[in-house]
Amino acid sequence: MWERIGAMVFKEVRQMARDPGMFVMMFMFPILQLAIFGFAINNDPRHLPIAIESSDNSAYSRAIVSALRATSYFDIEQVTGNYGEAEKMLSEGEVQFILTVPADFSRDLVRGDRPQLLLTVDATDPASTGPAVAAVTEAVNQALARDLIGTLAARQVQMPPVDLVLHRSFNPEGITSHNTVPGLLAIILSMTMVALTAMSVTRETEQGTMENLLATPLRPVEVMIGKIVPYFAMGLVQVLVVLLAAAIVFRVPFVGSFGLLLAVTLLFTLVSLALGFTLSTLVDSQVMSMQLSMLYLMPSILLSGFAFPFRGMPVWAQWLSELLPPTHYIRLVRGIMLKGWDSRLALPEAGILLIMLIAFGTIAVRRYRDTVA
């Protein structure tokens, strides 16, 4: 038995080594994904263009403008007294915000009439403007606090009855890459493990080599193990690439246990391999197995909580995503890396992955027979 499995592994590794696409998948693919999700994608965009429309050229309005700039959320593109010019810039997309300071702003402020400031937002892309809008109130209040002194001190904001203290746990600066880079482990492993296993099995069927393999004393489970082992090793290489990049390039904190992370990663890799094998038993061409893998990957990226907030989805979508292995693995990785989960905290999610492994493994073994057709 071991000899036959060894023969399969040996053969598979040789074929992988001769396939130039394999090197791309193993190294370039994780690096490309890291570059895109780690460097390019940012959920907390800063330096958004804003136009100030002001007919009130006072110390107060100037203080507000400089306070906005100091938040680093805004780049002041234009300060104009001309009504309509800023609207034009907004509709043309040159700026994303207009802050309108009314003509009698400073007079009303001094008189205590609570003048209004108007912030117009291009809300076509709500996600990108959210954090910036949240920063405006704070910036305005701080700017005026410095100038409303002496007799005007009465105009200052009253102390609120409660002092709300915000503490951002586990990711104090809210850095996006601390969230996405651990999640990438799940995405990269899903893409390569599921798609490559499915394709490697269907390639044998498509090229007619499977019939030959099955006519030999090789048992189906031996063919399976022989195919899984090399891809499993490849998955571990990818995990190391991502973890090294996380530590060295993105400086993602790692507060939990490395051993525990490795254990759940092995578990998830096996789930993905079993799933890839199951997919391969449903189709008989490489193209179809690729399409089927995509059908699995799309929801994995979009619904697993990797790209978009899990809790922002309607309940049915949340249930759907609970069925996807990456959802649970992403929680585990973020939990262990960022929150320092121990094995007791990791148990529920890891248990679900284990159940999935047993389920997919059983289906794969049962569906994959030693007969053709």
Partner: protein, 310 residues
Amino acid sequence: MRQEPAIAVRGLTKRFGARTVVDHIDLTVEPGRICGFLGPNGSGKTTTLRMICGLLIPDEGEGEVLGLDLKAKRRAIKQQIGYMTQKFGLFSDLSIAENLEFIARVYGLDNRKTRVALALERLGLASRAEQLAGKLSGGWKQRLALAAAVLHEPKILLLDEPTAGVDPQARREFWDQIHALAREGMTVLVSTHYMDEAERCHEIAYIAYGVMLARGTTDEVIAASGLHALEGEGHGADRLATEIEGQPGVAMAAAFGTSLHVCGTDPEALRRAVEPWADRVRWSQVSPTLEDVFINLMRTATDNSVLEQA
């Protein structure tokens, strides 16, 4: 002392959905014999071969391969059977030597290196051992596939249209090898479409639409067909095929070069049918060929199946 047959199957049946691909086939092949397996495309040849080597489980029927039960001992049978698939089944991105080494390991053979080296030597591929199998031409691929199929010295060799698309010389050499293997005691079951190959077999089995229609040696099959043949030679004889084929008593007529080959089951009716052209075509009685027999069998089988459906 009578040996037990290498292959003995009875009532072998396989259905794919509602379609019966192989319908109660009986087949017995004695050890060391080369049995040609003939029949039109889609007649169930490949399916029967796959059932014998354990790649498919028959829906009905029973049998023994090398004395082992066909259904219960599939793994033990696989160890002693060599199967060469219709499509090249080795790995095109592995070299010739690597492919053979892989097969040797899978069968758990001892002295792997020696066996592979020997096989390469015998193939005449020793100098190209490192070449990728996918880069070989059709004839060489087929030789390599045969070498891989017999590497573990099986007692039975199943060949599924092994010479399709191979040039005549390579085919001749291939058949010389098959006969050499049979002399050493290997039992060979080979499916083919070529009549000259059928004639090189010890015996033949003809199946059409899943049903065995003829069985025996070439002479036996021809005799059992009850066909009689005439050959016409003379000016324009080869142009008469369509005209003569419409005559009563003529099963078929086909031109071969400048002569015309005519067959039918009733010798008298056949003679009467060609009578009108006796003035310019000289008719002589010849032995029907295997091809005549098979085409006739196939037509009858087609007619039957059409009737059944109606």
